[in-house]
């Protein structure tokens, strides 16, 4: 008899889908209720030092908006017309009591909207902690590094105020180790998708990452390991799809149907910027020395380039996308930016220029987390895939 994994990919993805659809965050609530003194700390979708929450004995909970499942009733009353969707649905989650069990919220420095949302949270939910995570745009250890270490130290103090217990360096090192495991597994998942995109549909990859946002990292590590084991035992049919990199989904999340639509239209997504917090660092974070300095060094010298981050070197601007195209043997780039996203939309012309100079085909469209009409996107992505097949290398 074959040595089969405990779960099939279908079982695992079904669990992920249940977690994804549960806007009451039942799994996180149950985790918190299981032991007295546990805390849950929400964070918005970008880089947040989850290791520190974990080291404080807490569950870092990814708050990724309401998607297309949540009807925004109250949230719209807090934002004027020209603001993206994610702060509206995040407010909706808060006002509707769905986050009532969360002890604190971390707002990473993504953009002006999320920055201001941190202040709104302070005004609207004064009894809950709110911590803005300021990120350095100076990448010298002595300057931005020192500043970021002080930010991390203050974050530890803030977390300690929620638990009543100090966070030790050993605890942080142990947490970094667990998250290193997670990063390794996620990298393996990405590598497998790049190698065999027909076997790892991007909607499944996305759901796997999202699941990691609402369950403990140890459980997520097991889930990833199980999926990797299960997916290697199956062989799905190979399609004549074009290989593309998706860029622009670093914050407000795409509807799941959008990801499926792109693949259904004839594209294999071989790299993306979904849920960047899971692979912000390109390699492991060091386990020796001061753990806060290790986290800071990883941020400064080994992290992903994204629109909300400053690029000090003009010559390197946008090359991360070219590198991704090459490394993943992609044939083109799809810019899928969120409507009203300042960092993303201001970055796009620069990235497009870099791709053009490297002869890499591209298309661009905008979406919102509640976009429902997929037909135009399917047509656009399908035409793009066809054009790659017809004209690439011509």
């Amino acid at each position: 008899m074959l040595d089969r994994p405990h779960h099939t990919t279908a079982d695992i993805i079904a669990r992920c889908e249940a977690l994804f659809s549960d806007l009451s965050f039942t799994a996180a609530r149950e985790w918190k209720a299981a032991e007295p003194g546990r805390i849950v700390v929400g964070f918005l979708p970008y880089y947040a030092p989850r290791e520190l929450v974990h080291a404080a004995g807490g569950l870092p909970l990814g708050i990724f908006g309401g998607g297309d499942q949540l009807e925004v009733i109250h949230g719209d009353a807090y934002y004027q017309s020209y603001i993206c969707r994610i702060p509206r649905s995040t407010i909706e989650l808060g006002v509707s009591g769905r986050l009532d069990f969360v002890d604190g919220m971390m707002f990473p420095s993504i953009c002006d909207v999320i920055r201001n949302l941190s202040g709104m949270w302070k005004l609207m939910f004064p009894s809950k902690g709110a911590r803005y995570i300021d990120l350095p745009h100076n990448f010298d250890d002595d300057l931005g590094g020192e500043f970021y270490v002080s930010e991390l130290r203050e974050t530890c103090e803030w977390l300690s105020s929620l638990t009543g217990k100090p966070i030790t360096s050993d605890a942080i090192r142990a947490s970094i180790a667990v998250f290193n495991d997670n990063r390794r597994l996620v990298r393996a998942l990405y590598q497998l998708r790049a190698d065999e995109p027909w076997n790892v549909p991007s909607a499944e990859l996305y759901l796997l990452l999202r699941a990691g946002m609402v369950i403990p990292v140890e459980e997520h590590n097991q889930m990833l390991a199980d999926y990797l084991a299960a997916v290697r035992l199956q062989q799905r049919p190979i399609k004549d799809n074009s290989r593309v990199v998706i860029c622009g989904m670093f914050c407000e999340q795409p509807p799941l149907n959008l990801i499926k639509s792109i693949e259904l239209s004839g594209c294999y997504i071989v790299d993306d910027d979904f849920i960047l917090v899971t692979r912000w660092e390109n390699s492991d974070v060091a386990l020796d020395g001061d753990p806060l300095q290790s986290l800071a060094r990883a941020y400064l010298h080994d992290s992903k380039s994204t629109p909300p981050k400053y690029e000090p070197d003009e010559a390197k601007k946008g090359l991360y996308l070219v590198d991704s195209v090459r490394k993943n043997r992609a044939e083109g780039v799809i810019f899928a930016m969120t409507s009203f996203c300042d960092p993303g939309l201001l970055e796009r012309p620069m990235l497009q220029a870099v791709l053009k100079s490297h002869g890499i085909p591209q298309i661009a469209f905008k979406y919102a987390e509640n976009s429902g009409q997929m037909q135009p996107i399917r047509e656009q992505a399908g035409t793009f895939a066809d054009s790659i097949k017809l004209w690439s290398g011509a």
Partner: protein, 436 residues
Amino acid sequence: MTVIVGPKTKPPEAIKDASMARQKQMVNAHYDRLASAKERGEKVAATFVPGNLNELLMCFDMVNNLPEVNAIQNGLRRQSGGYVMEAEKLGHSEDVCTYVKSDIGMMAKGNIGPNGKPLPDPDVLLLSYTGCFTFMKWFELLRRQYKCETIMFQTPYLADGRITKDMISYMVKQLRQDVIPKLERISGVKFDIDRLREYLRKSAKAEDDHVWVLQSAKHKPSPIDAYFGGIYYIGPIFGAFRGTDDAIEYYKFLRSEVEQRIAQGKGPVTPDGDMGQERYRLVVEGPPNYTNFRQFWKMFYDEGAVVVASSYTKVGGTYDYGFRHDPDRPLESLAEYCLNVYTNRNLPMRVDMLENYINEYEADGLLINSIKSCNSFSAGQLLMMREVEKRTGKPAAFIETDLVDPRYFSAANVKNRLESYFQMIEQKRAGFRGAA
């Protein structure tokens, strides 16, 4: 048959008081200096208004060019609409900041400054990053165009409503180890801290009179309009003149002018002359619209509405909260200045400020002009409005326009909303009188 009737006559020339005329001369002279900087061998630094380090740039004999001010000037001169569309043709999204697009469009059309002369290419982009992501991307975009060095000077955000030692230390270290050495290299001028102290001393002097002028709006009637008129009052201190004798003279002159108006019991000067009876005293949050500036202002003064305090006049520094550039702590003082600019303050601080203004200036209420393309200001303003209303019991209103994109200024809508708002204030007053 529909007959489209155009304006019968050109609108009359705007009436300006002497300080406005003086400032116009200063601004024109500055643009002329900019246009001819390269001929004189002067280096040019482009930088932003909030958190600008004008005194420091002067230490390196650099001329200061402010892209936002260029966009404003183009808005006031009705040039920005075309520039914005030009940038969109070049691939910029309709969703993003119109200052950026006006600037990019202006470059595409030859980079002609408001004085009709080409603006010089900058030698350095000093990215004084006070928490506005647009600034960061804007200068990355300009860097591609000009191929010059960009210096990132990061200001931490006042998320917890306080300045910490670590924030100051980060900023001072950036100045010492990064900003100043790079400016020395680019300019070829050695940094002299005593020179900086002298400029800061001059800044503080001008800042004293600037604050006096803004606070003169506590008088009844207010001798100034602290929003529409305020735009003129902040020009020299927020721009290229802080640290100069010109700024000291300008604010001294302005102060004497305002003292005179108070003595005569006069209200503000408007483009149509002295304002009539003061009927409504407002606090305004958010930048103004520049493409229809005069029309927008008229909607206020026609109704006897005067703005007694505004947050926009604090984007380049919150001097009325006590900050002054300090020659005895030069680098720390520059850091504190940047940390304190209005949009670097968190939302609770901004709400406190607006609440205080309503109380201190005995205003009738708060008006928010929410700018379509400025998330730094606008995200969260509806909550700010609710909070201020709750705390002060004074009515608030919300309008939406844009900075320099004429497509997003709907005069009829704005006027309707303002008229309803003034009626609301009247009703509140009547209710109060009835209850008394």
